[in-house]
Structure formats: structure tokens, C-alpha cells
Symmetry: C2
Subunit: 196 residues, 2 copies
């Protein structure tokens, strides 16, 4: 015998999340089964509500509940900087560090010819329209091969517009150990060494 | 700035699951945000559908879509054995092993005076009505202090009904190592040693 169909279907849905395996999906489903109905209703409503209420900001392409988003309409932020990220959630990771006070721009991915993602699939035209002479554009894509290729492609276009183009530093993560650091990271750390 | 409210609410809902921390809840929420609407709708429907379609079996107290459940109505199972479990999901864990062909009974928890759970809060009366002279009742509560206390309480009542009462063996888990096994488990394994 197996679990009732309706539980099986829920397990299947939970198991679709990245990082959620069959076991965790089972535990989540049985947990919901044993909680009051209201909790399941709240969860289902929160899921549907989020999908309905979230728009894409017409300026930066980030996710928002009003257009333009709070970051684009914030008068205290510095218009001379635009930080380019792959996805909207990267903005929240950067904002948490309080290390940057400029604007953002969301590409919606990186160049990846094998997956059929070329420049037309990314939010690049809108970025070029925002760039003005002398602005600093901070490229904050993930440090992957596709991220680097996207950076090189963008840098060329952005420099033509007269922008200063920078990217996030590569190097040893804080708290790491050389023993457990991969070669590519050590190479980047050596190339990017800074004077003390 | 923080994430839009509707995403925050969803993160909060996901973080309520046991074993799902804030980080995982965030990752799950952003994942849903980036997937087609249908996936969110399927998930929300599966949650609500499960809560609506699942009943409690009037015989054993397990979860089921029809009453009595498939295990209680299966003519091939042995009526001389009842395995007593804490929760319905424990049945699926036991059934996976194909080690038992009797019936089941779900207590709905264990005795826990500190949490206000006494005999009246558990599905014990229905169990006593099912027990007949000479039946074997296998107690399969979790090997916790509350589980053991519940076993002792049930054993007394069940023996008065003329039942043979057993419980799952305590001992070393298969594939474990004495070096990493806690004292209570080693003690149980020693006390329950079997002849080879």
C-alpha cells in the first residue's frame, strides 16, 4: 500500500523545490496534515497572493509590489552607480550588507548559448538606456563561466557609453581555509592581491 | 529595504515547517517567484486538496481518502495482530519494510503530562474495543521517554484484556558504529542481546 493520492501529489509538488528531496517533501506533507486547516489555507493563500501581487519594476526589472520599486524611487540613493545583477533576489543579498548606496539593474539571467539565452533574452537594452557618461556600473553577476562571459559582453557596450565598468572582487571567502579552497579561487585571489 | 510584503509572508509560512530554516524558506519563495504561475497554482491546490480529501479512518484512526482505510478493509491482513503507532505517517514507514502483515492502530500522539496530553487525548478507548483475548499487540511508539511511558500504560490495560503485548526491539541501528552510538542505545542493545 502507498500513501493516499492527495498526499502523494503534495509530496511531488514539494519535491520540485531545489534542495528539497523526497524525504523532506514527505515530512513537510505529513507535517501539514497534522496541523490545523488554517495553516494550510494561510500557506496556499500566501503562495497565490505572492504570484499575483509581484510585478516587474519598469526601471530596473526587479520584483516589486508598486512600480517603480522602492529602490528606484528612493531619492537618497546615488544615481551615479548602477549595480547589475542576474536575479532580483541578488539585490536583497547585496542590500543586507549595507555596502552599496547606488541603483540596481536586473538582467534576468546570464548569456548562455547552450540554453538558448542570448543578449535579446536579457534585460540589456533597458540597462544601456539608463547609462550616462561617467557613471560607474558595478557588474555583480555570479562568478561562473557564464557570468564572466556576460560581464565581458556588457563591459564592451557600457564602455562605449562612457561608463566606468567594475565588477565584484574575486578572492578567498572570509572564514575559509586555503586547504579547502579550489584552484580557480586561489588563482583569482593571487591575481587580485591588494597592498596592505 | 526589505523584500516585498507578499514574499515575506510566504517565507514566514515556509519557515514554519520543521527542518526548514529562514534561508531555505527564502530560496523556496524566490524559486516559486521565478517559475511559471501554473506551478504555484498546482502547489496551492495540492495543499488545499490534501486537507479536504483526507479523513480519519473510523477503525484505526489512520489517514485515508475512504473510510475504512485500505489497510483496515484489506481481507488479506492478519486480524490477530494490531501494531500501535503514534502517528499515521509511522504506518507508511513500517509498511515500506514489508515486515508486518497485521492491522494498525493510530494513537495520535503519546502521553505527555507537561504538554497536557493524558489518556483522554489519545485514541486509546477505540484500541481497547478492538483487542480480543490472545491477540498480539505490537507497540511501535518512538523510543523516547514519552513513548516508553505510553507503552507501559498501554501494556497494563492490554494485558487485562488478555492480549500478548510486545514492542519493537531496541538496539544498534544497522550500519552504525559503536564509537558514535549513545550510551542509552548501547545499554538497550546489551540488555536485548540475542543468541546467535
Amino acid at each position: 500500500m502507498s500513501v493516499p493520492d492527495s498526499i502523494d501529489r503534495l509530496i511531488e509538488q514539494f519535491a520540485k523545490f531545489p534542495g528539497i528531496g523526497k524525504k523532506t517533501a514527505e515530512r513537510m506533507s505529513f507535517y501539514l496534515l497534522n496541523t490545523p486547516n488554517e495553516q494550510s489555507i494561510h500557506l496556499a493563500e500566501a503562495i497565490l497572493d505572492m504570484k499575483q501581487s509581484i510585478l516587474s519594476c519598469s526601471v530596473c526589472g526587479s520584483i516589486t509590489q508598486e512600480d517603480p520599486c522602492t529602490l528606484c524611487s528612493d531619492l537618497k540613493r546615488d544615481d551615479n552607480f548602477i549595480c547589475v545583477v542576474e536575479d532580483a533576489d541578488d539585490i536583497y543579498r547585496l542590500e543586507k550588507t549595507n555596502s552599496y548606496m547606488g541603483r540596481y539593474h536586473v538582467l534576468g539571467g546570464v548569456l548562455s548559448p547552450l540554453d538558448g539565452i542570448g543578449p535579446d533574452e536579457l534585460n540589456i537594452d533597458a540597462l544601456l538606456l539608463r547609462v550616462k557618461d561617467g557613471m560607474e556600473i558595478v557588474l555583480a553577476t555570479n562568478p561562473s563561466i557564464e557570468g564572466e562571459a556576460t560581464n565581458l559582453y556588457l563591459a564592451k557596450l557600457l564602455k562605449q557609453k562612457g561608463a566606468i565598468v567594475t565588477r565584484l572582487a574575486r578572492g578567498l571567502p572570509v572564514g575559509s581555509d586555503l586547504e579547502y579552497t579550489d584552484d580557480a579561487t586561489i588563482l583569482s585571489a593571487m591575481e587580485g592581491r591588494t597592498a596592505l
